[in-house]
Amino acid sequence: MDLLRKIGVPVAAILIFLGFWEFLVWVNGWPNYVMASPSDLPEAYIRFWNLFLTGSWQTLWRTVAGLGIAVVAGTLIGMVMGFSRIARDGLYPLLVGFNAVPKATLVPVLALLFIGQHNFNTVLMAFLISFFPIAVSVGIGLSTLEPEYRDILRSLGASRFTIFRKIALPKTLPEFFGALKVSVTLAFIGTNLVEIISPHGKGLGALFLSGQTNSNYPLMFAVLIALAVLGILLYYAVVALERIFAGWAERPQG
């Protein structure tokens, strides 16, 4: 019963969405080159299945790599901001400003900086677009640690590192995972941005672009759906990690 609700309800929601989409296309009489309908997609998947597989893999690994770097760098920046007031005052405007820059404008910059390094550029963009929420949440989590939490260990002569490892780090985990859920979709957007904008791209973004060039609209929509599926998979991978490492923060319902 519980399993049925956990899986059945979201699946039903997706089916209703697809049905509505199909209905919308049918009722408006839109031809394929205006708006593809869900029933056009299986054909695209069957025809280009090998491109979808390699494209998904390329998109996936570069997103995860960028996200991994964002986790490490974001946590480090967050630690610096969490422990030092001066660093916090100094870094905040800089980070906010950087985050406000539309990342699409950086694609040509990166492309010129690292000519031909397509994989590197893509991973770099995934990282650049996704580290901000992690840095901010870790920084806030550490700087708002109640002094008593520090004092129970400090009064025993524990080192700063021990206090960080035993108290500050685990206490920040729920905020960290909250940020990671935002970052995972951002990293995904970053990867696709480079794949679509930069020429000679790889991954699902490039497949989308080739659909556009060949006016193959069902292919384009099939790519969008594949991207959505990948995004959902990554998101729930983060949720699973959160259950393992910060499951204690979840209170029993009722």
Binding site: E146, L156, K166, K171
Partner: protein, 266 residues
């Protein structure tokens, strides 16, 4: 008996944007080994600063803090602390919370012994059977009991408590006072209790130190002679002797607040 805690002429001021804010001024407190000192005083008179000084978490501008005949310069492993907030680590079970100080103070202690020690204390405060629960599954009073266990698990010389019962309802608070006496009977430690509750100070303290308003000095020291023999009983608070002590303390607090002591108004 030698004094375990000696605070000699401690003066301290905090730096603020509007200049120094003096909080302590020539404070004198001496607590003999094994005794229980209660500290009362008006709000914001520097009582919490006092706990941090004894714990070695900060140094006074002037004056000295001595523990066990040694000048306190930095934190030492021989103190235990409990606060109004039980400060439970939500990601650990109750047992793991209590064990925490042992991980710092006695890293080589075998795991089996740590668990035995924590279980022994949890049984003393009536938390047997809750070892594997998360703090969020316990009531406020139970969390505070666990917090007291954690404060003394490493057998500290000094237990420093900053209003540990302040956030609890009256009945739970009285239960915990009783627990405190039971703990003292089994575990020898010298205690400093910061409190706003005069009845609490008389029921738990061997001496009650009344601090003046900011900057705080030691304004008055009351030696508690609790009515009755043996273990203190709550009923003792409703005797004329206790009433007289409470009246004295209330009068002293009024002086500390800068008000003229008058007849108690109810």
């Amino acid at each position: 008996m030698a004094n375990l805690i000696e605070i000699k002429g401690v003066t301290h001021a905090y730096k603020t944007p509007n200049g120094p804010l003096p909080v302590l001024d020539g404070l004198e407190i001496a607590v003999p080994e094994g005794e229980f000192a209660a500290v009362v005083g008006p709000s914001g008179c520097g009582k919490s600063t006092l706990t941090r000084l004894i714990a070695g978490l900060m140094k006074p501008d002037r004056g000295e803090v001595w523990l066990h005949g040694k000048l306190v310069k930095s934190p030492r492993k021989t103190v235990g602390m409990a606060f109004q907030n039980p400060v439970m680590l939500e990601w650990r079970t109750i047992l793991q919370n209590v064990i925490l100080p042992l991980e710092i103070v006695a890293p080589s202690m075998p795991r089996k012994d740590r668990i035995a020690r924590a279980e022994e204390l949890l049984a003393l405060v009536g938390l047997s059977g809750f070892e594997d629960k998360r703090p969020s599954e316990l009531s406020g009073g139970m969390r505070q009991r666990a917090s007291l266990c954690r404060a003394i698990v490493h057998k500290p010389d000094v237990l420093i408590m900053d209003e540990p019962f302040g956030a609890l309802d009256a009945f739970t608070r009285e239960d915990l006072w009783q627990t405190m006496h039971e703990l003292r009977a089994k575990e020898p430690f010298t205690a400093v209790l910061i409190t706003h509750d005069l009845r609490e100070s008389v029921y738990l303290g061997d001496q009650v130190f009344v601090l003046s308003g900011r900057p705080a000095t030691t304004q008055y020291v009351l030696d508690v002679t609790y009515p009755g023999d043996g273990m203190r009983r709550l009923e003792g608070l409703y005797t004329p002797e206790a009433a007289a002590m409470l009246a004295t303390l209330r009068e002293q607090i009024q002086i500390a607040q800068g008000r003229h002591p008058g007849p108690a108004v109810h």
